[in-house]
Every structure is written in C-alpha cells, then in structure tokens.
Amino acid sequence: MVVSLRRAVITGVGSLTPLGNDGPSFHSALKDRKSGVSAITSFDVSTLPVRFAGCIPDFDAKNYVDKKDRKALRVMAKTIQLAVSGAQCAINDSKVDKEKLDRTRFGVIYGAGLIATELNELADAAIVSSSGDPIKVDLDIWGHKGLEVIQPLWMLKYLPNMLACQVSILHDAQGPNNSITQSDVASVLALGETFRLLCRDRGDFFLAGGAESRINILSLTRNSLFEELSTDNENPQKACRPFDKNRNGMVIGEGAGVLAVEELEHAKNRGAKIYAEILGFGAAFDQKKDGSGVARAINAALKEAAIDVSDIDHVNAHGLGCKRSDRIEAQGIRSALPKTPDVLAVKSAIGNLGAAGGLVELIASLESFQTGIVPGTLNFENADPDCPVPVLSASRELRKNCVLKVSMGQTGQCGAVVIRRWM
C-alpha cells in the first residue's frame, strides 16, 4: 500500500434531502425521528404499484445557483440541478474563497445514475411520427419532422457526466473530473476516488458528490419492473425497515450529497472548519453474494485507516430494507467486525437516494460529530436473526470518534470508507 503524507479532510457539506436542505436540519430531523417519505403528489401516480417516495418538497435550483448562471439550468435535468445545487451548498459551507483556489487543482468527482428523459420533451416528436391503430412510430417521419420539434441540446440534458461537468463549469474547476456510475454505491466510490486523487497530489480541493432523482413517471414505471420496492402505500413512513424482520423492500428517494474534501494543510492555512478526516477506503465485488465482498471492502478500509474496531462509534450502513440485500450486508459487517459496533441505517427516514445515497447518509454521521448526537434507525422494531448486527434504534450520544460507512449495490459492488472526527 502506498503511504501518502498528504491527508484528506472534509471541510464542507451540501445536502439536499427529503428531510431538510442543510446538514444541521437534516440531522435534527433524523434525531427527532421524522420521516421524509410521503405520498407522491406532484404528478398522477394512481396506476403505479408504489405511490410514495422520499421527496424533496419544493426544490427549486434557482434558490441555490448564482443569478448569472440560472440560464444554464434549462439544459439540466432535475438530477443535474440537484448536483449543482448541492455543490453550491458544500462550497458555501466550506467558506472557501474560490478566487484564491488554484483552479487546476480543484477537482469534481461525482456518482451518477441513468437520467430519465422528460417525456413531454419528446411528445411533439412522438405525435408527429405516430399514427394508426394500434399506434406505430414511423421512423421515416421521425428522422426529419420529429427531430425538428426536439430542442437541440436535448441529449446533453440527460448525460450522466453532466453532473460533474456542470459543476466544473459553474465553478471553473479544471482539475480531475469523473462520473462514477455504479448505482447505489456510486457516491461512496466517488469519495474513495477523491481520497486517492488528493493523496497522490492531483489536487488540493475537491467536490465529491452524488445526486439523483427518480421521482418522475418514467423512472418510477421502469423501477417498478425491476427493483424490489416496498408497496406499503397505506403506511409510507413505515415502509422502509432496514434490518427489521418484517422489511419488505426499498423506498425510492431523491437528493444530493456533496462534500468539500481538502488537503489538510490547505484547509488549515485558510482557517477552515474541519468536520472529519478520511482515513481509509476499500472497494470490492461480492461475487458470491454472501457478504464476503462487503467484508473485504470493510477490511481494506480499516487496514488503511489503521484504527482499532473499538474506535468505531457506529457503522453507517447501506441498510436498503430488502430481504436479501440487508442479510448479505449484515453478514458481511459481522464477518469483518465480529465485535460489531452499533449499526445505523438512514434510508428508513429518506429512502434510497441512489447515486446520492451514500454521501447523504454519511452527512448524518458528519453532523453527529458536530452535535455529539447519533440519530437512531427509524422503523427498526423486530430484530432478524438473519441480520446478526446490533442496530441502533434510538438516538444516543456519540461515544467514539470514528465512523465506518458501508455502501453496496444489488449487483455486488461494495465500498467502505472510514472517517474520524476532527478534534
């Protein structure tokens, strides 16, 4: 393992979540056991099997983006708008003076997912090219008449690398720029890659983030077909139950989580507030679907962090709320950490934020470092012998200074990060 003398610290937090649009209000809502999961009301979901989600009420990117840059929002899907808004929040929180930053050493690494096109944007083209009963599309017509009625920059509004690219353009960040598209693990992998880039001297200031909104009719329809979703429409706030014996599927949520990650001396020189230091990162693939990949990612992160298991206050888990996924994760955590620390799952309160999820969840722990209070896991009522980990159900005082974040995808990708409270 290459040992670097450079140290990476977190100096800013941007979180747009179903439970508040800044770190302190998000943490406080979690602590007060509030739920951000609710019925979807912004469009007609009456024919979907699942009619609730973790929605951000009244999100408007104009409230976050500089007036001079608002025009650019027109070529950004909601996911991208969340990404640039979250970036602005993280920059504001870091209080960095952008004018003093070396722009070539300012990087942006984001997690991103598939972005659904807004169907109305294709409607005119669809109608002009379709006829008959049953309706058929005529590509001969689409190719000329259809194309004429779609806006020219249509595709750029939905490319997954536009989260990080639009952020780089708005903030003139000319350093490394990457878009990691690994489903629910994406933003934790993005943070890990940021940590590596910073330690190998490729930059001094980074925005590591993730953003995603699947709360639109196309994404929800598609996801209903292949994701294991809870259908507890009667009780949305109770629907997501990580590690609980009666868990019955995941809940989709939306949001953005962005961290300002900075080289320690760089942060000290400008007198930055430091939340935490990133100590270790590990990634693996759970090929056997038995948690061994989760365990390897955890072990790699812990080894690099060079901390003792007894230094970990809590494991901030992936905790999806699905039968198999939670079982695999719990077994992986248990096998890596036989003396398992308390396990916290945030998704029960906000849903699965996809590419944003890992970092939004980590922000709950970063705010615990600030307040000294760790929130409990909502909806954890009945322990499941298949998930042999101590789930933290009620909030409590922070006792130790390290947190292990675990993130995993249903196809097997795993990531783990260790952070330590800055004192």
Binding site: L122, I150, L156, G175
Partner: protein
C-alpha cells in the same frame, strides 16, 4: 519505487474486426468500417451511416451466452472482448490469480432504450387537451409493455457487474461514463488502483453502442455527426479542412493490466507498459472544448510528466481526432503547445477515419491500436485526408500506413462536457 503496471491481455469487438490481428490488419490497410445504418431505418435522418459491428454472435465468444440474453449490445460486446483479453492473459481459469485482488474498472455505456415501444407509448398516452402526458395512462401501459429485464439492463452499472460475476473478479469494481473519454479514464484510474496497491490486476476498457434512434437523434440535434452526402466511407475526415462531424461507431476494447512483479511471477506475456495518465476538465462549456485547449494542454502535459518519458521519445500520437471542426483544431493546437517544435516531427493519426467514434469504448480500442503499432512498427493512417487545414498542420500520416518504430505512444480522448484524458503507453523493457 512506484509499482510498474503492464498490459498482459487485450481483446476487441470493432467495426473493423472482432480480433486484434484482424482489426489491426484492416487499419493498416486503410479499410473503412462505415456504411449505411442497418440497425434501424435511418433513411430520413440527417445522418444515415455509421460504423456497425457486423455479424456479431456472442456464442462464438463465450461458453454460455444465455446469461447475457437480456443485456444490451454494450454488455454483449464487453463480454466478448473481456473473454479475449482474459484468455490472452491466461486468466480465464478462476483458480489463476487471487480473484479478490483482481478488479474491474470500465468506461461502459448505457443499455439501449426500446425506441418504438417508448415513443409509441408517449404518443398514445399524451393528453392533447391538457398538452401534457397522462402519467396514469403512461404507467399503466408502461408496466404492460416494458420488458423488466431490458429495463434493468439499461442501468449504467450492469456491464461491470456482469463481467465481475461471470469471470469471478472480486476486487474493486468501478464504471465511469465520462462521454467520449470514458474508457481512457477507466484505464487511467485502473492503473492508479494497482499503483496504489488496491489490486494487482484489473480488467479495464469500455464498451458502447449509440447506433440506435435515440443516439442518432441526440447527436444529430447537436449537429455533431457528419452529414456527408457522398460515399459514407469518405465521411470521417479528421484534420481535413472539409471535415463536418464525427461518424458513430460501436464496439468494445478490453485490457488486462497487471503489476509487473505479479505478471513476472506467473510468467505472463507482457504486451506493453502503461506509463502515464492524466485527466483534467475544460470547465468551459458542455458543447465545445475550450478554444485555447487549456484542459487538453494540461492533460497531455500531465500524462507525459506522469510517464517519465521525455517529449522527444514520444514516437506516435493516436489522436482523439473526431473529425469535428472544433476538436481537431483544438487538439492540434494543444499538441503544438505541449510539444513545441517537436510537434511537427511526431506522426499523429486518427483511426476514427476508418472505424468511426466508439464513444465510451473509443479510448480503449485506440490504446490497443497504439500497442499493436509499437509491436509491429507500423502506424495506422488518417484516411480521407485530402485538403489541408492551415490550423491543423501536423503530420497526420495521410491515407497510407507508415513503417515507423516507436517505443512510446500518447493516446488522447476528449469528451462532451470538457472531459480530457491522456494515456502514455511504452514498449516494455526490464
């Protein structure tokens, strides 16, 4: 001492061949893989041609193609190219090498949305009076007509997961989709993962196809594609004054890269050493590169510095060379800024003149081309080069392959959004 990383396996699926010897032979012969689009009826589109992979049959490549039946072509191309690369590296057998130290980092694209299904759904669920889609109706019909497996396979993380699952690769698993720079960036970051010690071997590269109605629609709307009216095989003309856009290609390029001592211990055949990598952002516009090439300059210079190779020892540049006005001008400018007078002495070519632009997969196939060029001592040409552009005044190896021994090559990839990646690959020496 920094860990040294070598290439021990390679595989390709391209419009010019589904093995490396076949592809390279065609490139050296100046053959074109471009022709009329056959995947769908593109007759009325502004662009009617592309470079398609022909006669692709996954069963000829992998033992059990049924595992890939719901996948898009991106995953199927990836499976075939990965199979070749692992076989070439002698690592197909799961007992070979510690699989927990063997990861995946791809720059692989999305699966393909079923155009007819989707557009006809929109047409029949649009409420003309309200001038808006009827969401309830759309969901009802969508649940009925979308195929669950195909929908799941469109997600951006599926290809790297399939490869890891099928070939038992249990190390770090990443995918980046940074437009046209994706597979180059993936290779660069895979290199860094091994350098850092997070893995000993990585399967890396990319796979993509955007030859479908949505892809051509999107690029035509951006006026990024060539709309050349003559012979399609003459349409892609990188660095020529009359270039008018790129030509879509498709395919996959995969490499097995490995820590040198690890490769030595198992007696692996070493194709080349991966010596330099850098990526930067233009931070300028989503559509155009920075007019002064600031991101590209920093990127090329950064990769050469990282490689430790002297400028004068770079013997070939495999250009991004898309055949768009902006890219080819800015790329030429950036090469000149970095290399100074030396720039005029270094042969530069763009194989996109023959196989089009493989988008996310382009960089990997181009890096493999560099390795073959070093091995054989033959540089592939830039075809269709007829009219010099005063702003593109380098040696582009016009129209005819050239015998030229070189020990170090630079490969550039630049993408929409201002993504820049450069790689340096060197002949291996102890």
């Amino acid at each position: 001492m920094r860990r040294r990383i070598v290439v021990t396996g390679m595989g390709v699926i391209t419009p010019l061949g589904s093995t490396i010897p076949e592809m390279f032979k065609n490139l050296v012969a100046g053959k074109s893989g471009i022709g009329p689009i056959t995947r769908f009826n593109a007759k009325s589109f502004p662009t009617t041609f592309a470079a398609e992979v022909r006669d692709f049959d996954l069963a000829k490549h992998v033992k059990d193609p049924s595992q890939w039946k719901d996948c898009g072509v991106n995953s199927r191309f990836a499976a075939a190219a990965a199979q070749q690369a692992l076989e070439d590296a002698g690592l197909l057998d799961h007992s070979k090498a510690d699989r927990s130290r063997f990861g995946v980092y791809l720059g692989s694209g999305e699966g393909i949305q079923d155009f007819n299904n989707m557009i006809s759904l929109i047409a029949r669920t649009y409420d003309r009076e309200k001038r808006s889609l009827d969401c309830a109706k759309f969901a009802t019909e969508g649940l009925k007509f979308f195929h669950a497996g195909h929908e799941a396979e469109q997600e951006l993380h599926t290809t790297p997961a399939h490869l890891a699952q099928y070939f038992c690769l249990e190390g770090p698993n990443f995918n980046c989709l940074t437009a046209c720079a994706a597979s180059s960036q993936a290779i660069g970051e895979a290199l860094e993962i091994i350098r850092h010690g997070d893995a000993d071997i990585m399967l890396t590269g990319g796979s993509h196809s955007m030859i479908h109605p949505f892809g051509v629609t999107g690029f035509n709307l951006l006026t990024a594609l060539s709309t050349f009216k003559g012979d399609p095989q003459k349409s892609s003309k990188p660095f020529d004054l009359n270039r008018d856009g790129f030509v879509l290609g498709e395919g996959s390029g995969m490499l097995v890269i490995e820590e040198l001592e690890h490769a030595r211990k198992r007696g692996a055949k070493i194709h080349a050493e991966l010596t330099g990598y850098c990526s930067t952002a233009d931070a300028f516009r989503v559509t155009d590169s920075h007019p002064d090439g600031r991101g590209a300059i920093a990127c090329i210079a950064g990769a050469i510095k990282d490689s430790g190779v002297r400028m004068e020892d770079i013997g070939y540049i495999n250009a991004h060379g898309t055949s768009t006005q902006v890219n080819d001008r800015v790329e030429s400018l950036a090469i000149k800024k970095v290399f100074g007078d030396l720039a005029y002495k270094i042969p530069v070519s763009s194989i996109k003149s023959m196989m089009g632009h493989l988008i996310a997969a382009a960089g990997a196939v181009e890096l493999i081309t560099c390795i073959e060029a070093m091995r054989t001592g033959i540089l592939p040409p830039t075809m269709n080069y007829e009219t010099p552009d005063p702003e593109c005044d380098l040696d582009y190896i016009p129209n005819k392959a050239r015998e030229h021994k070189t020990r170090n090559c630079l490969s550039n990839s630049f993408g929409f959004g201002g993504q820049n990646t450069s790689l340096v690959v060197s002949a291996f020496q102890n």
